[in-house]
Amino acid sequence: MTRVGRALARAAVRLHPSGWRARYGDEMAGLIDDSDSSLADAADLARSALAAHTTGGAPMRFETAYRHPGPFAVVAALLLLPTFAVVALSLIGHELGFSAVADAVDPWIAQLDTVRILDLFLVVAPAVAFLVAIVPLLDLRIERDDPGPAIAVRVHAVPANLAIGAVALLVGVALVGHIVTESVLRLGA
């Protein structure tokens, strides 16, 4: 419990305003290391962080990774790639009438359908890729305001992440549409 309490207490120190951390952060970290920190200490630090934000200092800021969106865009693209390929080739083969493509791809898709974990990955990947691409662009702040604290959400417009997020959304919608259509057709048959 001490290890968990200490880790949570260290995390709670990071919730304090930057000016506060610059002045007392090292001392608080040293105190946490010196004592048997408990969950109560972590709660006490979280409360003092809230107090520090509401009585002075900079607004509380939940920074995501928007300063380094590139790696998240790459991971999102890699996650999305297999589903994108399957959906794109299916559309080309079946919707655009390129039967040669359909003949080449259909056996592969039928094979993928038999491996449950791969099938599940292909279905879930667009949603995960969307989150990986878009969440790092969010910047959430709790600011002092009258009559009470206000939550401000900003979205950093990074083209690569927005583009991959949009493609993931389109692929996801296409995939869900396909699954729903197949299900309805099966029920009607």
Binding site: A9, Y24, E27, M28, L31, D44, L45, S48, A52
Partner: protein
């Protein structure tokens, strides 16, 4: 029942014995008042007292920074304790008179 839950007062009383860093203040307060201050509560009090000029940091020792009472802090603490003492004496006299 603890002597007081006022962290500012507890920190000032602890530092009245001489300079101490955060962990030493926690241990001292627990010993003389039976109150275990949380680290956030402690540094909240230290921040307020430092801002009011009642305590001041001295040379840092590793990651530990000791604090000491300023002259203003010593006189403020003395005034506060005299006020509390007056209240305590009044309360005791009234209890004795009522019994």
């Amino acid at each position: 029942m603890p002597v007081t839950n006022d962290p500012n007062l507890l920190v000032l009383v602890s530092l009245a014995a001489g300079p101490r860093h955060g962990h030493a203040i926690l241990l001292d307060v627990e010993a003389f008042a039976g109150v275990r201050l949380g680290p956030g509560t402690l540094y909240g009090a230290i921040g307020r007292l430092e801002a009011e000029g009642l305590i001041e940091p001295i040379a840092i020792e590793g990651r530990r920074r000791p604090y000491r009472l300023t002259d203003l802090g010593r006189s403020a603490l003395a005034g506060r304790l005299r006020g509390l003492n007056d209240a305590v004496q009044t309360g005791l006299r009234r209890i004795e008179a009522a019994s």
